[in-house]
C-alpha cells in the first residue's frame, strides 16, 4: 500500500513544507523561550523588532514567497 504520491508532492509543494516547518519552528522557539524565561507578553512583544516582523516583514516576505512558488507551479504545469 502506497502512503502517498511523494513524487508529485515533492514536485509541487516542496517549499511549502519548509515554510511550514520554519513558521512552526520560529513560533515554537519564541513560545518555549518566553516560557523558559517567564517573560510576559508586554516584554516579549514590546520589542519594535517583533512588531515590524509580524506586521510588515512577515506578510511581505510571505507574499513574495507565495507568489514565487505559485508562479513556479503555473510554469511547470504549462
Amino acid at each position: 500500500m502506497k502512503l502517498a504520491n511523494w513524487y508529485s508532492l515533492k514536485r509541487s509543494t516542496a517549499p511549502v513544507f519548509w515554510l511550514a516547518v520554519g513558521i512552526v519552528a520560529v513560533l515554537a522557539a519564541i513560545g518555549l523561550g518566553s516560557a523558559l524565561q517567564e517573560r510576559q507578553a508586554a516584554t516579549l512583544f514590546g520589542l519594535p523588532a517583533t512588531w515590524s516582523y509580524a506586521l510588515l516583514i512577515l506578510p511581505g516576505l510571505l507574499f513574495l514567497l507565495v507568489e514565487w512558488v505559485l508562479n513556479r507551479m503555473n510554469r511547470r504545469e504549462r
Binding site: M1, T13, P15, L19, L32, T50, W51, L62, V66, L70
Partner: protein, 625 residues
C-alpha cells in the same frame, strides 16, 4: 461576476465614501445636530449593503453555490481579506492595542501565515476539485457519505462559534452608535446577516465582502492620515508608527507609571481574561489560528469560485496581502489614537475640556456611555464642571476617565478631536465588515451541511439545495444571535471555532488532497477523533465532568513550552494531534499489522465485484488494490 468592473466599482465606492464624509463634515460644521449625521450613516451603511447584497441576488444554483465559477480575482481577494479580518477587528481590537498589543500583533502574524499556507497547500487543488464546500467535496473524493456527514456538524458548530462574536460585536456597536435598543438592534443585525447569506449565496456574499473591506480600508486609512498629520512627521503612518507614536507613548506611559497616574490600558473597561494570559498562551492561540485558517471554509468557497486553479492561488496570495495591509494600518491607527488620546486629555482643566474635548459629554446618552468622568456619565458641557470634586479648576487626569473598551477603536477619532464624519465612516465600515463576515460564516456552514446531507442524494436538485441552504443559514444566524447575546468574552468562541476547524477540516482536507493511500475509514476516524477530543478537552477544562463551572473538577493540562495550563478553547491542538494519531494508527494497521495480511487477500475479491477487468492484475500483484 465578470460583469462588475473592479476598477470602476472601486472608484465609485471611493467617491461615495468621500462624498459621505464631506456631507457629514459639512452638516457638523453648519451646526446640524450630530444625530442627523448619525442617522445619515445608517442610510449610507444600508445603501452600501443593499447595493452589494441585492444586486447579487440570484435563484440559480451554480451562481448561488459557486458564483458561476468565474469570480473576478480582485473581488475575491478583497472578499477574502474581509473574511479573515475577524480575529483582528472585532470590537476588542481597540482594547487589544492598549491593553495587550502583543496579542494583536500575534493574531495579525498568524492570519498572514495561515493564509500563506492556505494559498500554497489548498487553494489550487481545492479549486481543481470543483466543489464549493467540504461536505460535498469529501463525498465526491471518497464516494462515501460518511466523511462529509461527520464533517458537516463539526463545521456547523465551528462556524456558528465564529459567527457568534461577529454578530455580538456588530450588535453592541450598532446599539451604541445609533442609540437603539439592544433587542431591536440584535434582530436587525441578524436579519441583515441572514439576508447577506441567502439573497445570492456566494455571489452576493463575495460582493458584500469586497465592498465592506474597501470601505474599511478607506475609513481606517483616512482616520490614520488625519491623526498622523496632527502629530506631524512622516505622513505615512504605517511606516512612522514606531518612531512617532509607539516610542513617545511608551516614554509617556513610563512617566505616568512613575507618577502613579493611570495609563490607557487601565482606563479602558471590559478587559477580557484571555488578554491577561502570557505570551506563550497567545502564541498557542496564534498556532491554532494558523492551522484553522489553512482549511477555513469561507476561504475554500472563494477558492472554488475562481475560474481556474491558477486564479485561486492568486486570490489567496492577494487576499493575504490585503489582510496584512489592513492589519498594519489598523495597528498604526490605534497606536496614533492612543498617543493622541494622552495629548488631548492630560493636563486639561475641566473648564477648557468643555470646549476642547466635547467627546467627554457628547456620547453620554448612548448606551453604554462611551466615557465616564469621575464615575459619572456627563450629558451637558456644564455637567463637566460638577462631575469632579475640584469644580472648574479640576485638572483632568486619565484616572478620572473610564472608556468602554470595545468602543475605543470606533470612537478613536472623536477621542482625538477629529470630526464626527470620520467616526461615522469608521462605524459604517466596521458594521458592514462584521455583517459580511457573519454572512460568510452562515453561508459556509449551510453549504457544508447541504453538501453532505442533501447533495449526496440521487434525486438532489440545485434549486432544492439552494432552498435548504437558505433555510439553514437563517436558522444558524438565529442560533448564533441568541447564543451570542450573553457572551462575555468573544475570544473563547472565536478560538474554539478555529480549534474545531484545525482538528477536523485541516487533517481531512490535507489527507484528501495529498495522501491518496488513506481511505474513507481513516479520514472519517480522524475527523471523529479530532472533533471529539477538541470538544472533550474544552468541556473538561472549562466546566469539568459534572458540567458545573468553578467547583474544582476542571482539568488543567499544559502543553510543552507553556508555563500554565492550556485554555480549553485551544483544545484543537490536542484534537489535531489525536486526528494525526488516528491516521498514523490506521496506516500502521494496514501496512504492518494483521490487516496488512488480510488486505492483499480480500482485495482481488472486492475488485472482482466492482471492477472484474482489473481483478487478475491485482491478484498477481501487477496492480495496486
Amino acid at each position: 461576476m465578470d460583469s462588475v468592473n473592479p476598477s470602476k466599482a472601486g472608484f465609485a465606492l471611493v467617491t461615495a465614501c468621500i462624498l459621505f464624509t464631506i456631507i457629514v463634515y459639512t452638516m457638523e460644521k453648519i451646526g446640524v445636530p450630530r444625530s442627523y449625521g448619525i442617522g445619515l450613516s445608517a442610510f449610507f451603511a444600508l445603501g452600501l449593503w443593499a447595493v452589494a447584497a441585492f444586486s447579487g441576488g440570484t435563484t440559480r444554483a451554480r451562481r448561488f453555490l459557486l458564483a458561476d465559477g468565474s469570480v473576478n480575482p480582485a473581488i475575491a481577494a478583497t472578499a477574502l481579506g474581509c473574511a479573515v479580518t475577524l480575529p483582528v477587528l472585532f470590537s476588542d481590537g481597540g482594547l487589544l492595542a492598549a491593553a495587550n498589543p502583543g496579542l494583536l500583533v500575534c493574531l495579525a502574524g498568524a492570519v498572514s501565515s495561515g493564509l500563506a499556507l492556505s494559498a500554497l497547500l489548498v487553494s489550487r487543488r481545492f479549486n481543481a476539485a470543483g466543489q464549493s464546500d467540504l461536505g460535498e467535496y469529501l463525498f465526491r473524493r471518497y464516494q462515501s457519505r460518511l466523511p462529509g456527514r461527520l464533517m458537516a456538524p463539526a463545521m456547523a458548530l465551528a462556524l456558528v462559534l465564529l459567527m457568534l462574536p461577529a454578530i455580538a460585536a456588530a450588535t453592541r456597536l450598532a446599539s451604541w452608535y445609533f442609540a437603539s435598543s439592544p433587542l431591536a438592534t440584535s434582530v436587525a443585525i441578524a436579519a441583515l446577516v441572514a439576508l447577506s447569506a441567502i439573497l445570492g449565496g456566494l455571489y452576493s456574499a463575495t460582493r458584500l465582502g469586497a465592498v465592506a473591506f474597501v470601505v474599511l480600508l478607506i475609513s481606517v486609512n483616512l482616520a490614520l492620515l488625519l491623526l498622523v498629520l496632527d502629530t506631524g512627521g512622516f505622513p505615512v503612518g504605517q511606516l512612522s508608527v514606531g518612531s512617532n507614536a509607539v516610542e513617545p507613548m511608551w516614554d509617556l506611559e513610563d512617566q505616568l507609571r512613575s507618577l502613579g497616574i493611570a495609563r490607557l490600558a487601565g482606563v479602558l473597561g471590559g478587559a477580557a481574561g484571555f488578554q491577561a494570559l502570557g505570551a506563550d498562551v497567545h502564541i498557542a492561540a496564534g498556532i491554532t489560528l494558523i492551522l484553522g485558517l489553512i482549511a477555513f471554509p469561507p476561504a475554500l468557497h472563494l477558492y472554488a469560485s475562481c475560474a481556474e486553479p491558477q486564479r485561486a492561488g492568486r486570490v489567496a496570495a492577494r487576499g493575504m496581502a490585503a489582510s496584512a495591509f489592513f492589519t498594519l494600518s489598523f495597528f498604526a491607527f490605534l497606536m496614533f489614537a492612543g498617543f493622541g488620546f494622552y495629548q488631548t486629555m492630560l493636563g486639561l482643566p475641566v473648564s477648557e475640556a468643555r470646549v476642547e474635548a466635547p467627546v467627554l459629554y457628547s456620547w453620554s446618552h448612548h448606551q453604554p456611555p462611551l466615557i465616564t468622568v469621575c464615575g459619572k456619565a456627563v450629558v451637558t458641557p456644564d455637567g463637566l464642571m460638577e462631575a469632579c470634586n475640584g469644580g472648574g479648576s479640576h485638572i483632568v487626569d486619565t484616572g478620572d476617565l473610564s472608556i468602554a473598551g470595545g468602543l475605543f477603536a470606533v470612537a478613536a477619532p472623536d477621542l482625538n478631536g477629529q470630526p464626527l464624519a470620520i467616526t461615522a465612516l469608521l462605524a459604517t465600515s466596521f458594521l458592514l465588515v462584521l455583517i459580511a463576515i457573519a454572512g460568510f460564516q452562515a453561508l459556509a456552514a449551510a453549504n457544508t451541511i447541504t453538501g453532505a446531507f442533501y447533495a449526496t442524494k440521487k434525486k438532489a436538485t440545485g434549486s432544492r439545495r439552494v432552498f435548504w441552504n437558505r433555510l439553514l443559514a437563517t436558522l444558524l444566524v438565529a442560533l448564533a444571535t441568541y447564543a451570542g447575546s450573553g457572551a462575555p468574552d468573544g475570544y473563547e468562541p472565536l478560538l474554539l471555532g478555529f480549534s474545531l476547524i484545525a482538528a477536523t477540516a485541516l487533517p481531512a482536507l490535507l489527507v484528501s488532497l495529498y495522501l491518496p493511500a488513506f481511505g474513507k475509514v481513516a479520514v472519517s476516524s480522524a475527523i471523529g477523533a479530532g472533533f471529539a477530543v477538541t470538544l472533550l478537552f474544552f468541556i473538561l477544562s472549562t466546566v469539568g465532568i459534572d458540567l458545573i463551572a468553578g467547583n474544582g473538577d476542571e482539568i488543567a493540562v499544559s502543553l510543552f513550552g507553556l508555563t500554565g495550563p492550556l485554555p480549553g478553547s485551544l483544545g484543537g491542538l490536542y484534537g489535531l494531534t489525536a486526528a494525526i494519531a488516528v491516521l498514523a494508527t490506521t496506516w500502521l494497521a494496514a501496512n504492518l499489522g494483521p490487516l496488512s495480511k488480510i488486505g492483499p487477500k480480500i482485495a482481488p475479491k472486492i475488485a472482482r465485484g466492482i471492477a472484474p477487468e482489473i481483478a487478475p492484475e491485482i491478484a498477481e500483484g501487477r496492480r495496486e488494490a
